[in-house]
Subunit: 320 residues, 2 copies
Amino acid sequence: MIETGFPTGGPTLRELGERDVIKRIRAQAPSAVNGDDAAVLAPPTPNSRVVAATDMLVQGRHFTSDTSTPYFVGRKAALQNFADIEAMGARPIAALLAVSAHPDMPVVVMEEIARGVGDMASDYACELVGGDVTSGDELVLSVTAIGALGGNRPPLTLAGARPGHRVIAHGRIGYSAAGLALLQAGVAVPPALEPLVAAHQVPQLTPGRGVVARAAGACSMTDNSDGLIRDISQIAEVSGVGIDLASNALTPDALLREAGELLHIDPWEWVLGGGEDHTLVGTIEGSAPVGFRSIGTVSRKQGVRIDGAEPATARGWESF
Amino acid sequence: MIETGFPTGGPTLRELGERDVIKRIRAQAPSAVNGDDAAVLAPPTPNSRVVAATDMLVQGRHFTSDTSTPYFVGRKAALQNFADIEAMGARPIAALLAVSAHPDMPVVVMEEIARGVGDMASDYACELVGGDVTSGDELVLSVTAIGALGGNRPPLTLAGARPGHRVIAHGRIGYSAAGLALLQAGVAVPPALEPLVAAHQVPQLTPGRGVVARAAGACSMTDNSDGLIRDISQIAEVSGVGIDLASNALTPDALLREAGELLHIDPWEWVLGGGEDHTLVGTIEGSAPVGFRSIGTVSRKQGVRIDGAEPATARGWESF
């Protein structure tokens, strides 16, 4: 069963007023740390460094009521920020949520967004610790994730890839774009393809994989947010190296192929250009850490190639 | 000279594309920490706790081109988050900026906002370390401030006020609301009253006053963001105490009185209900720390009073 749609009934933000709206948000994602001018967080390990990332989502641009629900939007907004924290090899310790919404929006939409953020935070053993609500014409969410980086090893930056490294990935690639294409095509989605839709609505990562990769000796990492080729190219450029991907490690699986046939789209477009899977992609000297698979190698020769050739599809996400 | 207005010429976000827009933002507020999936911050003192706050600002709601400039909007957005960090007794160590804007917006508006955030961060000895840009119909900013709380003393919470405490304040009260009223009245603002307008466009605090107050033994603190009575009432409610303010410590000064006469508005409305000054207001057992003045006392009798009577004006800011 595919769930989409935003609730349209019940009391509005205007009817309840700021104070009660905030109370309801906090009821959906309770935290002892929330409720003051700012949240105070104890470091999980002594002298850990602080890691911070933020993402903004606009209704109609990053999500619509035709393709998602407020709860999924909240979960996804949190996840994509946690993926940024994990891509540094750090672990999320808190999330902040700021929302601008029309005063006539039902408060249940706000509650569901908060529940989504809170539940995803809970999956990562952290909490929604603060935020802001304001009125505007558009529904705009901004989630900030705070993480902690313990120990003395450097974080997993875009600059850490070296020739000879193995390229590793954790998480699906191409599922989110395929799921979105199915939702937008206006076709009845066969039940077998629902995992693609689910992956678009809320991408799945196993919490802690970035921390594991860093502990296992990974040196560079990012997440597949704007499209695999685009994100991998970032590592290649910033590190001053080349990356050779192996097509047989990226070959669209049965679900992607089936969706491609249904929609008459080449599933490789989703794999190479799709983005929004938030797959962790990085490089390491030795073998792939638990939960990661090998998808290529790092070389001296600048650029990103698949089986030695320039990728045909590399568009990716563009904000403006 | 009062400066207002948003630039309307030059290349747009759409014309430049996301990559170049981000480059230009980073050029306005350079930081070695920016540019990866997330920013990694070293703790300024061993085992300091992390403090985080976020605020969202919407054009037409929190600022307009008639009353401000993009540079001032950036400065103010940063300042109001830093005030939240200071109100915990902590010191800001970084800011993140997420902006949603129409693709046809001139990029110089984005650059000026970023320069404002970066300059204010610089005033607080910290940096703009990361962010996000996206397209939308409205101009929406979200700034997150990260702070550090050193040592073992508790943070300055809303819950820390105790009967017998002195109520203390750092910063102007009422100036921001008076300045906004002058800008909105459509009158020629006499040069002598320009400090009120300046205080609305960019409230002024001396960086580090929250840290000083905590070191001097302050126990509770907030900032005057929604209106003095409303914010003080928060401390009183959460602490389960009453607060008695002394009118002679709050009496509108010559500038506020002059603006009040010009606009036929009682300046006490600005002092008690205005907000947006981000004045640090707190309580302490002993005498007022350097930079703070005494404005009242904490008692057992619940409620907020001025010279023993209920305040006539206590509206304050309401989001919806």
